[in-house]
Amino acid sequence: MTRPPRELWARRLALGLLAALVVALLLPVSIAVARPAVTIRVLMPAPFVDATAATVDAFNRSHPRLTIAVTRGPFETESVSDLAISSLLLGDSPYDLLLMDVSWTAKYAAAGWLLPLDDRLGPDPLAGVVSGARQGNVIDGHLWRLPMVASMGLLYWRTDLMERPPRTPAELVAVSRQLQQQGRVRWGFVWQGRQYEGLICDFLEVLHGFGGRWEPDLTPGLGLEQPEAAAAAGWLRQLLVDGISPAAVANFAEPETLQAFETGDAAFMRNWPYAWSELQKPGSHVAGKVGVTTMVAEPGQSPAATQGSWGLSVLRGSSHPDQAVEVLQALTGADSQRRLVKDWGNTPTLTALFEDPELLAASPTLPEQLRALEYSVLRPITPAYAQLSDILQRQLSDVITGGLPAAQAMGRAGQASTLLLESTGGEGTGA
Amino acid sequence: MTTPTPATSASVTVTSATPGSSTSGSLRLEQLLRRIGTRTIVDHLDLTVEGGDCLALLGPSGCGKSSILRLIAGLDWPDAGRILLAGRDITALPPVRRQVGMVFQSYALYPHLSVARNLSLGMEMRGVPRATIERELDRVLVLLQLEELRGRRPADLSGGQRQRVALARALLRRPQVFLLDEPMSNLDAQLREELRPQLRTILCGGSAPVVYVTHDQQEAMGIADRIAVLRDGRLQQCGTPQQLYEQPANAFVARFIGRPEINLLPQPDGSLLGVRPEHLHPVGEGGIAARLLSREWHGASQQLLLSTSYGPLRWVCNGDQPVEAELRLGWEPRRLHRFDGRSSLRLPD
């Protein structure tokens, strides 16, 4: 008895399907075998994930056995630190590389979370880095990070309302008052007055402009108990009292500041370089009417720009430090920075890029940014920085909202800071 | 299944103690109508309860008897008709001004208050002086044997005790009318039997009209002077228990009153022949031929189910009556009821 043909076909079909299934099951396995042996995980704040995507893609294409996997962190700077610290506290960090704000470095290094990069990047790895972005990377003789983008405080001014920007605090107030009286702007000057890290950055620039300093070695009170500090804080408070700045700046962070300036409500704004490209976007009322310069300073004092660079560090827990360093070099290298400047309006850290004609065309404020970088100032480099910043934030916020006279508040901040450093043995440059 | 017993001697003392006698009068419902949506819950009802009379509203669940109670209390409002109490139209009065004493099916005792506070709260709210409150309280606590329980909360009382507290609260109201909504339904059967005479003594001895809602015909007959049988919001018949038993106005009333249920035998002319099981007796000839199907023996009586050419037949007789498998059953002509086949109304004898 022969099989009916139909059944034979069914058997062949079943066999064929089985074969297809086996192939389908094995295919991913074979791909996995061929995949690169090492994956380097990087945690970055969300905006930098987008800005480095092209570089990461190019790297992954050209390195078949080494993959960069980027984790999208939160938008807000401090939230990224929270996320990183949470994972670091649990022991084995899931990340090899961390994109860090300059103010975190000392704390992370002291906690033992970072791998010193001293001999891994060849002789003088900071040689090509612009002077303003060079500081804050070497602490206690070790190199802990390599900057990827520079950033510093800038004074934005309205080219349609004045011929040249003010140079002194008094000038800024006078121009503001005149424009306000003429009804051409509602506010003179908008800045970051919320009780958070941004307030410290703004204050540091004004402090230097008044001839003051805020450094762990200074006495009394790290420099805060000097009259210059009281003068700087008092000037900020007076901006609100005189109506040069709205009362609301006491709760302004960068977005609120940008919004107020973008709508044409203010003559001056203190902000970071990213704001320039935002102001040129459609919807901005001040596109093409904005210039950038350094913050005002008293006659005889040089202006200051708080350094706020982002740099990459290798975490000590990384199981592939060599490959992590390779990725670090690629992300901080010239090609990567070129994209960050050209496509995303960031500030480079490599001196050579400031003269690149292509980049100058894309980012016309580069020369002003370079000039500002020459005046760049650092926040205190100590593992206790977060506490010092917190102490000063509270006292400054108290001054700005009219709670305490400036001299008294700065006195308190100075005493509390001194006490803190004494109790932690953290005088000097810490770790 | 007899007419209610007259008030016992105990009722004499209660009568004198029952409050509000001077103001009591009759309760009259005139063409009372209540609708919920498209459903007619109470359908043009006319009823009168004389002061001191106890009327039971009897019917299956959903017949509208509780709704009538709520209309009298003022908890619901009629769509048409009038309610008169002691000659006064109270249809539009808020509940508090009707002066009704109501016992809810659940007793509705305030769970967070002691027995004494449960009883005194109403007087407190009405601003009765403290001394009067104490006096009144003592009076009902004694009357209902609740003195020992005055500090307890409702959760710590038995079902019968709760009922007494609810009764006491209604009494304290010095009501012009007593309303009781299935007050026995939360008690077990034995307790019900025990409490029935007591309840009757307390309620029906006074001069205020009493309206008592129940679905239990036995309870209604045991407590009420008169019974109003309701079906779908309509009054079927109102009369003394004896009238309802002996002269049911229609087949529904005949079936509802008397247990076991009346036998209704369809006649060739379409009418129904009704004869109560307890009115059948064996006859030599005549009557109808029956064959025994089943038998329940209760000692004093026995209940039998028989099959006849008219259908099944219920028979109740003495427990010692010998019963054969095949027999003939007859009845006295005066025990016979006839109902119209279509309208089910009673046909003239």
């Binding site: 906690a111 007055g193 006491a250 977060a386 108290d398 | 509940p95 009704v100 509705a108 709210m125």
Partner: protein, 291 residues
Amino acid sequence: MSRTLRANLVTLVLIAPALLLLLAVFVWPMGYYGWLSLQAQSVFTGLEPVPVGLANWQRLLGDARFWQDAAQTLRFSGVSVGLELLLGLAIALVLHQRWPARGVVRSLTLLPWALPTTVMALGWRWIFNDPNGPINGLLQSVGLATLPFLASPQLAWIAAVVADVWKTTPFVALVLLAGLQMIPADLYEALALEGGHSWQALWRITLPLLRPYIFLVLLFRLAQALGVFDLIAVLTGGGPAGSTESLAVYAYLNAMRFLDFGYSATVMLGMFLLLLLSALLLLLWRRAAEA
């Protein structure tokens, strides 16, 4: 084996899972925090624990910021929970009545509670924005000056209370509504027959019978409010001038920003003791109310 011993053993076995869970989620962390509060473990010790005895506790007692934050947290919790109770009760009473579309409104009322706190805090930050927020828009449109809600130490904590009340009143209303539905309707009818009007019904029946629910919701909300963190962190960051900083925010700063875990644990335990004290007072109040 005696019968009682066996019964006890069975009991023990049966409650063991619950005990273990309690041990894991409560006793262990609390014990760990207690141990940590006796250590210096911070960035200055290389994150290694170093026993310091009661130094952290001494510091806590003398830490003006801790006590200021404790006062601010208590003020925030007391005012928020008090308002939530009043509003929640009012809403529950309204939702308990019969009226058309009640079901829809009930569900809508719950929406704020379903929203993640961070999202709603961002929303309120915008609402309170000076000058671009809707409230200030309204003030300007009627010719009034704008108010710096989040930039003034006097106003910012009120703004936080408003946001918290908006978010959690629905929860309070929901619990109280459940409580209202447990109260038999005939109690109100009995009261009405005895001459009680609606105000007396609220006072004599609703509130006393709602008391267990009020107690529950107070305990629950107070515990939540005393630990308020995300709302404050997003809305004001504790500012201006530290005027809205809560104990949880302070504990968080010590741990995550300052990397001072020993002191953070001490602050956390201090906060817990405060909570315990509040719960105790609440219990005493309940005892007194029932007696």
